[in-house]
Amino acid sequence: MLEEDVKVLLIEDDVAAAEMYRLRLVADGYSVVIAQDGGEGLRLATEEAPDFIYLDLRLPGLDGFEVLERLRATPETMHVPVIILTNYGEPELRERGMKLGALEFLVKADTTPAQLSASVERSVAPRPLPST
């Protein structure tokens, strides 16, 4: 799969963080769409048909868990890999996210943009779709 074909949706309300990750992902050849709240994230997840979604937990309106639940309940987005990217590292949140079908749970402060970009590479490599 050519990297230029891979579209990433970042659902992230912190403009500085979104801009930083976008910079890295674009440099690595991905195309990036940013949503600043949960509702916009759900809309773009359907309209833009991303190959991959990064999802923040603390968001205006719908929070990350609600967004994830709805993504999983929608046929068009059901199988799109989602990585949770958050400032919250609590094990119970991680567990909840993984149960809802997230592929990975990354803590922002511990994840460099390079590591983030690598996580896309891993997940868009040929592999079985995550079961839901």
Binding site: M20, A109, T112, P113
Partner: protein, 377 residues
């Protein structure tokens, strides 16, 4: 040592000690009857140099509760100073001690001297009353200590929460950009953006840490103001300058202040921090952007600074909670906005330590206006 007076008044201590006082004065009244009619007995509480009746035997007239000035009653004065029983024609006065200090007097009325047995029993009763007060003082001390521990415990867990979440957010940006810089992957223009983002987020972390330290200091030692003559207009300028890097493309800081200085006596650094916190809030709580007006003015008596945004606004009924520690108002519109709940608490404490105060009112048409007033120099 705790204030003995507060132990007498303590609502928890009052139930038990109140009963002890009543029983004691009635028992004293019976044992001091000397086989004849019962004597009146009063228990007086000593607070600085004033005595107030807090218990009287059933026989005594309770309408005469004092207060009595110690200096106007030589016999009371003598008993307090000597710590010994003082007997006169119509009265015997026994000092009541708690934790080594005279905290009150047991006064036995009626004519005729006391026999040895009566005197010994009354002295023992005064000791028992004193022990009761000592207990109440200890309870009071423990309650205060418990309350303090509870506050500090809460502070500790809130600080852990701030460290876990609020500090991580700017840290993530600093780490992210610095890793990209060291990989050498950013083009020239983006390098400059990265550097200014790092500076801005380091500034944000510094503010968070300073708020945490100030709160901890306030809770344990109290804040010591470094007061000096200061031009408020300059302080406003400094605060605006400090916030410049944080102001994004969709916000504008608009200053309105007189050309001449506004002289106040203030802790310059703290006042500046307070204003930067207010501007930071104005930015955070007006996500759609717009002007943030900062107005410096005075009316010849007090100086005021207004920070006015056109953002989400605040529910007026809950506004008073804003200035309490960790008193952030979380609503569906604001739940995602980062904050420690310390900024406005510190702002109010700072304003009050300057002899002023802070208030919030709705901005006409939407948003909030925070007004800080401090006395003119």
């Amino acid at each position: 040592m705790p204030d003995p007076a507060s132990a007498w008044d303590d609502p928890v201590a009052t139930d038990a000690t109140g009963r002890l006082f009543r029983e004691s004065v009635n028992l004293a009244s019976r044992v001091a009857s000397g086989g004849g009619s019962r004597r009146d007995v009063w228990l007086l509480q000593l607070r600085s140099d004033v005595l107030t009746c807090i218990a009287a035997s059933d026989t005594a007239a309770i309408d005469d509760r004092g207060p009595y000035r110690v200096s106007e009653h030589p016999r009371f004065d003598q008993a307090i100073t000597s710590g010994e029983i003082v007997e006169g024609d119509s009265q015997a006065v026994l000092p009541v001690r708690a934790q080594g200090t005279v905290v009150g007097l047991l006064v036995v009325g009626g004519t005729g001297g006391l026999d040895i047995e009566e005197r010994d029993t009354l002295t023992a009763l005064a000791t028992i009353v004193g022990l009761g007060i000592s207990q109440a003082m200890t309870v009071d001390e423990l309650l205060q200590e418990t309350e303090r521990s509870r506050r500090l415990e809460r502070l500790k867990s809130e600080f852990l929460n701030i460290a876990a979440h609020e500090l991580r957010s700017p840290l993530g940006i600093i780490r992210g950009y610095s890793s990209m810089l060291s990989e050498g992957m950013l083009p020239e223009r983006e390098r400059l953006v990265a550097l200014s983002r790092i500076a801005e987020k380091a500034e944000e972390m510094a503010r968070l840490i300073s708020d945490m330290l100030e709160t901890a200091r306030l809770e344990t030692l109290g804040l010591e103001m470094e007061l000096e003559p200061v031009d408020l207009v300059e302080v406003i300028d400094d605060a605006m300058e400090a916030m410049r890097p944080v102001v994004g493309a969709n916000h504008r800081l608009v200053l309105s202040a007189p050309r001449e200085p506004i002289a106040v006596v203030a802790d310059r650094a703290r006042l500046t921090t307070m204003l930067t916190n207010l501007i930071d809030n104005a930015i955070k709580y007006s996500p759609a952007g717009g002007a943030i007006e900062i107005v410096g003015e005075h009316d010849g008596r007090v100086a005021s600074v207004l920070v006015r945004d056109h953002g989400i606004g605040i529910n007026a009924e809950q506004a008073h909670l804003l200035f309490t520690r960790f008193g952030r108002l979380v609503t569906p519109e604001t739940s995602h906005i980062r904050g420690t709940g310390l900024g406005l608490y510190l702002a109010r404490e700072t304003a009050r330590l300057h002899g002023g105060d802070i208030a919030v009112t709705p901005t006409p048409g939407g948003g909030s206006t925070f007004t800080v007033v401090v006395p003119l120099a």
